[in-house]
């Protein structure tokens, strides 16, 4: 670790801590204000007009909002479940085996993380519109964009995120443990089930929470992969914002905010479990061998 060069009490030290508090205020003030205004009884989204819960009641009674909320939840759960399985398998293959086509696969797996949302969205739009046309031409199928296409596109980016998180965990794991299990006549499956899996479980949980968060938050890709019939909550809200802001949007936003904060806290807790085991600091990437946990 690096020691502070600024002497305590010096102008530099004051300026540094001052900056830090200003930045934290910048991070949190908008969030706090949004929560406050969601309870405000005023038609203007940014003015306080006394306490009310009516915007939340409107949210509960709004059938389109409720529908899109359920679409969001179903898409998030399904895409997370599938991408956790595929992403974990991919991570294991890349970290524990050497196989043909590995480098290409490794690169391909990083692409969905690094390309901008908009380009991924464009890819999905063109792919599904072509796909639907071909399905109609060849098989006479009448397909429309909706739940399935949204889920397919979410899995396409979530696999990569899950595999990165699981790989980080795997590379920090002591391989000798697996070798020991094999030396003790465990077969591949038993060594995976009783040695590897318990060790990487926090990584898998972290990857799953990340996938849930990304799926619940996504606007751009979903907007291009969804049809007029069904869409997710963020896309619906995004459309509402563009038509004009209302206090109802404040309330819906606070609900989404609460969901993502719950997910962050859960993933920080799983990360804590990891740190607790190996004595790493939070900012560290888990790349050291976790000898201390043996």
């Amino acid at each position: 670790m690096i020691g502070g060069t600024a002497r305590p009490g010096s102008v530099t030290a004051w300026a540094l801590s001052g900056t830090a508090w200003v930045v934290y205020a910048f991070f949190y003030a908008p969030i706090v204000l949004l929560v406050v205004f969601s309870f405000s009884d005023d038609r203007n989204v940014g003015r306080w007009g006394g306490f009310t819960l009516s915007w939340y009641e409107q949210f509960i009674d709004h059938s389109q909002l409720q529908n899109s909320l359920w679409v969001s939840i179903r898409v998030a759960l399904l895409s997370t479940a599938i991408s956790v399985v595929l992403g974990t398998l991919a991570a294991l293959a890349l970290e524990r085996f050497r196989f043909r086509g590995q480098r290409v696969f490794d690169a391909l797996l990083y692409l969905p993380i690094i390309i901008p949302d908009v380009t991924m969205a464009v890819m999905m739009l063109l792919f599904f519109s072509e796909g639907i046309r071909i399905a109609e031409l060849l098989f006479g199928l009448d397909l429309t964009k909706g739940f399935t296409t949204i889920t397919i596109s979410h899995i396409a980016f979530n696999i990569s995120f899950v595999s990165v998180v699981v790989r980080a965990r795997l590379s920090g794991m002591n391989e000798q443990l697996e070798e020991a299990a094999l030396d003790l006549y465990a077969n591949r499956w038993r060594s995976f089930r009783y040695v590897t899996l318990p060790q990487i479980a926090p990584g898998i949980a972290g990857g799953a929470l990340l996938a849930l968060t990304l799926s619940l938050d996504d606007v751009v890709v979903t907007q291009f992969a969804s049809g007029p019939g069904s869409t997710t909550l963020p896309v619906f809200v995004f459309g509402m914002i563009r038509r004009g802001v209302t206090p109802l949007i404040n309330a819906v936003s606070v609900v989404m905010l609460a969901a993502s904060i719950v997910l962050v806290i859960l993933s920080l807790v799983t990360q804590r479990l990891r740190t607790g085991e190996t004595g790493r600091s939070l900012g560290d990437r888990p790349r050291r061998r976790s000898d201390s946990s043996v």
Binding site: I2, G3, L16, A20, F26, F27, Y28, P30, I31, L33, L34, N44, V45, G46, L86, L89, A90, L92, L94, E95, F97, R98, F99, G101, Q102, L108, L109, Y110, P112, I114, I115, P116, D117, V118, T119, V122, M123, F127, A156, I159, S171, E175, D183, R188, D217, V219, V220, R242, V245, I249, S253, M256, L257, S260, I261, V264, S267, S281, L282, G283
Partner: protein
């Protein structure tokens, strides 16, 4: 990347003669390596197939569309490939949007860098316990719904909102910056600041403090120590953070829509307009391709400069 040696006995270990296991021979090792290769391939296969089907093929379709021609009714003729839509990138309207996006993204990156550097330095120089708590409070906005965080600024900057009230109280007159470039930059800085803080923190935390003390011992002033010791040593973090902020800012769509008033101020929103309203798919596809190329180049620079995986 760590690779395991074939996890089969390779020496006078438990697999040696007398235990009933096959003798270790070169042929045996090769067979084991082949079996290993097959297992790895099979395990990666589901994700591999999925990504080829739903990522590589869509990517190919974008490239094909970028070479196609828009017909008069707003459809796309896939026959007869040409580079027309790439030529259109040099037209004044498109060029202006490209330049403006680059300029806004650069300004966002610079502001993030200036704000995040002292902040990350402050975090990195705390004791481990406080450091972890401070980092958690950076992680929370980092993971919070991006749309909601942009919307919060819409509420604050809106007419009669808190921002107008504060500027009025300060005596500078009611300021309305919503739907201006300033609002877009503010939203982007707010959205991507954690992307700058985290790599900067990681880089600064890794620096050997005795090097800074050595600088001070040799009578360097605080500013000299910063410019000649601290900053050069934290350069990997500066580079990583800048790329992580610059690239998504360049392709930003949600922020310009919400805080920029839906005008196609930036590349991201201009691309979307080509698909959803202007119905010029070839132009949209070629712009996406350009954006992707910028992105991949930046990532390669990042890895070349010794950056770790994202």
């Amino acid at each position: 990347m760590t690779l395991t040696a074939p996890p089969l006995p390779t020496g006078p270990g438990p697999g040696g003669a007398g235990t009933g296991l096959p003798e270790v021979t070169p042929e045996f090792e090769r067979a084991a390596a082949r079996a290993d290769s097959r297992r790895g391939f099979l395990m990666s296969l589901p994700a591999y197939v999925y990504l080829v089907l739903f990522f590589t093929i869509p990517f190919g379709i974008v490239v094909v569309y970028s070479l196609a021609t828009r017909n008069t009714i707003g459809g796309t003729d896939l026959a007869g490939w040409n580079l027309d839509s790439y030529r259109r990138l040099a037209e004044p309207i498109v060029r202006d949007i490209l330049f403006r996006s680059v300029w806004i993204a650069m300004l966002t990156t610079l502001i993030c860098l200036v704000v995040a550097y002292p902040f990350s330095y402050f975090i990195a120089t705390r004791t481990p316990t406080i450091r972890n708590i401070l980092l958690v409070f950076v992680m929370i906005p980092f993971w919070t719904n991006f749309l909601v965080r942009n919307y919060a600024w819409r509420v604050i900057l809106g007419s009669d909102g808190p921002f107008a009230a504060v500027t009025e109280a300060l005596g500078v007159g009611r300021q309305e910056i919503l739907f201006t470039h300033s609002a877009v930059i503010l939203g982007l800085v707010y959205g991507y600041l954690p992307f700058m803080v985290l790599p900067l923190y990681a880089a600064i935390e890794r620096i050997d403090g005795s090097l800074i003390e050595a600088g001070r011992d040799l009578y360097a002033s605080g500013a000299q120590t910063f410019w000649r010791v601290l900053l050069p040593l934290s350069m990997p973090g500066v580079l990583a953070g800048s790329i992580l902020v610059f690239v998504p800012s360049l392709g930003a769509y949600v922020t310009p829509q919400i805080l920029g008033g839906g005008k196609s101020t930036m590349l991201g929103s201009y691309i979307v307009v080509q698909f959803l309203t202007a119905r010029n798919w070839p132009l949209g596809a070629s712009l996406s391709f350009v954006l992707m190329t910028v992105m991949l180049t930046a990532t390669l620079i990042y890895f070349r400069a010794g950056g770790r995986k994202l």
